[in-house]
């Protein structure tokens, strides 16, 4: 007869293995730490979480827009307002993200085994740009048509036009509201887990890591 503790340690059980993986993602107490090293007391360290806050507004306003559909903002003042919140939260999102990028570049934030944190940030930047561009293609207006007509040659030139047709507004809308936001959200979670696992990068002159 096995005890409950032994059952929880049984590595032939996939639930136990999965729990162990999840518990080991970040060091104990580092998932949501209440304190940070003293060097984090600088405004330049705030732009990552500002980007995350803007992303929450982007997703929330996008969900409200989904209720009304792509043409809602053309015929309703409420829809127009929500569309503007969505647009400007994206502008703020990218503004904060780029200042975050500048700050991390100039402090060489890939130091101390943080290369994957840096790489996931780069991929996030690129995925966010793709999500934004498909948003411009989903405006259901002449601007979207013009951008699609201009963009198709570039997409065809890299060989992606066969399965990624910027002249197909239905396909672009689904990429914009499902696939790309899902990718951005999942990579964001990965990025944050890596930050929590390795800690916030110290300034170049801190010399904490030897």
């Amino acid at each position: 007869m096995t005890t409950r503790t032994e059952e929880r340690k049984d590595q032939s059980n996939w639930t136990n293995r999965l729990r162990g993986r999840i518990e080991g993602l970040v060091p104990p107490g580092q998932a949501l730490p209440a304190t940070q090293p003293v060097y984090v007391a600088s405004w330049i360290y705030v732009f990552g979480v500002l980007t995350l806050a803007a992303f929450v507004v982007v997703i929330a306003s996008g969900c409200v827009l989904s209720l009304g559909g792509v043409a809602w903002w053309h015929v309703s003042s409420v829809g127009h307002y929500v569309n503007s919140v969505h647009l400007w939260s994206v502008e703020v999102f990218f503004g904060f993200m780029v200042v975050h990028l500048w700050g991390k570049f100039w402090m060489a934030a890939w130091r101390g085994k943080r290369a994957l944190t840096w790489i996931t940030g780069v991929v996030l930047f690129l995925a966010s740009i793709g999500t934004s561009f498909t948003g411009f293609l989903s405006q259901s207006n002449f601007s979207a048509q013009w951008i699609g007509a201009e963009g198709k040659d570039g997409i065809n030139a890299i060989g992606a036009g066969a399965f990624f047709n910027v002249l197909n507004p239905g396909q672009m809308l689904l990429w914009h509201v499902v696939l790309l936001p899902l990718a951005v959200a999942l990579i964001t979670v990965w990025h944050i887990i890596l930050v929590r696992r390795h800690g916030v990068v110290p300034p170049l002159d801190a010399d904490l890591e030897g």
Partner: protein, 60 residues
């Protein structure tokens, strides 16, 4: 406001500098972002609650 009134009738203003061509709006946004970056580096961050940084605490 209907959709037609949102279509701008005037061309945007552009800065031309050799091979570089950028709209005034985009140049202004980049300028503001650089300003925000510099301010983030130089403006002191409030430590709050009367706490001192670790390195200034006595006995450390």
């Amino acid at each position: 406001m209907n959709a037609l009134t949102m279509v701008t009738t005037e061309p945007g203003k552009y800065i031309h500098w050799g091979v570089i061509q950028i709209s005034v709006a985009n140049a202004a946004i980049i300028g503001v972002m650089i300003l925000v970056f510099i301010l983030a580096l130089v403006i002191p961050f409030p430590t709050g609650h009367g706490e001192q940084p670790d390195e200034q605490r006595p006995g450390r």
